[in-house]
Symmetry: C2
Subunit: 213 residues, 2 copies
DNA sequence: GGTGTATCTTGACATTGTCAAGATACACCT
DNA sequence: AGGTGTATCTTGACAATGTCAAGATACACC
């Protein structure tokens, strides 16, 4: 384990005793640290340090470390959903294509926020069901995905499959691809967004043929 | 953080000073603890304690905690590969069906060893590329998967897709489904193997139509 | 039997999450 | 204005972790 910093509020922090909006600041700092480190290595103390407050300050805004990270994850799901709906909104085409674009947005989000994505989907949050906001936001994101699939199925030229199957396959495919990319098990270390897009479109195309065929 | 045990070798351990095969024991214990806890909560000290040795003993067999866990993960990949080849070996049918069975084996393995699967694919191991055995074994597992796909493509009734696309899609689909199941984002809390099999087969079927269509 | 070396233990340190008790300052009421 | 209450923040403390250095032990070989 690294040995480095002492546990005092950051020097140069000229905030007053009362912070103003520490809750918001903690979330921002946590998100920033998450760009740099694995979720399991983002410590409460480091967040507090970076926010310029003492180690125990966060406990007045979050029950514990997991609650803070859960809040960050919840915001992640909100962003994910926003990215998906925004993308379909700016896409013309039949429902199947639009759903494909949604998948692309999903994968892009993962690649652009790998650690956040890991926090959202990894095992770091062990009591996921007990974090209300997280439940709500992740549910909303899934709902958006599900709605798009519903559309594409209704218009789909009726391959033999049931809707449930297809939805599950699509979600699994997109989620799996995101995981493989985030974990760098697939693709080059530094892929451009364009390259990721192409990859995601290719992967989902096979599935599209499966349902449309 | 929990407060509980003291850091002494387990009482009742009547081993001699020298252990015999501590390395093996540590791996076994780690795997056992992994059935119970998240990878990030399997501590070196707990492993040592459970193995009946002092906290520093593992350092004579592994460079650090991550190296030990990497070795466990490597064995996980060995098991995964074994499960897959065993399954295809006992399957008759065309290459596409055989590959589908491989996917089923993959998903089954994940569901039956959720924490191990998380260790193998999650972000806990940050220096994956520096663990030689892990690299080797995971490579071998992927190779087995890839080979099966190669077969199924060659015999496949030539849909429009390229082999690379299909392979990627298949892997992503299977991996994603495994993840969703392991994280309990899909399926009931305690599904039987049969139920998982059905689910996996349904999911991969859509893909099969995509390539065969 | 003596010596060497691999193996294991003990002690120590920096780090973490968390709680309890004290300090501070803002907000409101008279 | 002044006083009081309460939300907010800090300090001190404890158990736990990973890791290293230095000491103890026992097996293996000459």
């Amino acid at each position: 384990m690294p040995r480095k910093a002492v546990d005092k509020p950051r020097a140069g922090s000229n905030r007053s005793y009362h912070h103003g909006d520490l809750r918001r600041t903690l979330l921002d700092v946590a998100l920033r640290l998450l760009e740099e480190f694995d979720p399991s290595h983002v410590s409460l103390r480091a967040i507090a340090r970076e926010a310029g407050v003492s180690r125990a300050a966060p406990y007045h805004h979050f029950a514990d470390r997991e609650a803070l990270l859960a809040a960050v994850a919840a915001e992640g799901f909100r962003s994910l959903r926003a990215a998906m709906v925004e993308r379909v909104a700016s896409t013309e085409g039949n429902p199947l294509e639009r759903m494909q674009e949604m998948g692309v947005a999903y994968v892009l989000f993962a690649v652009q926020n790998p650690q956040l994505y890991r926090l959202m989907f990894g095992g770091e949050l062990r009591r996921r069901e007990s974090h209300e906001e997280l439940q709500r936001e992740s549910g909303a994101a899934y709902a958006a995905l599900g709605a798009a699939m519903q559309d594409s199925m209704e218009t789909g030229s009726g391959g033999g499959g049931e809707p449930g199957n297809f939805a599950l396959s699509a979600w699994a495919l997109v989620h799996g691809l995101a995981m493989l990319l985030v974990d760098q098990r697939v693709g080059k270390p530094d892929m451009s967004d364009q390259q990721v897009e192409v990859l995601a479109r290719q992967a989902t195309e096979v599935l599209g043929r499966g349902v449309a065929g």
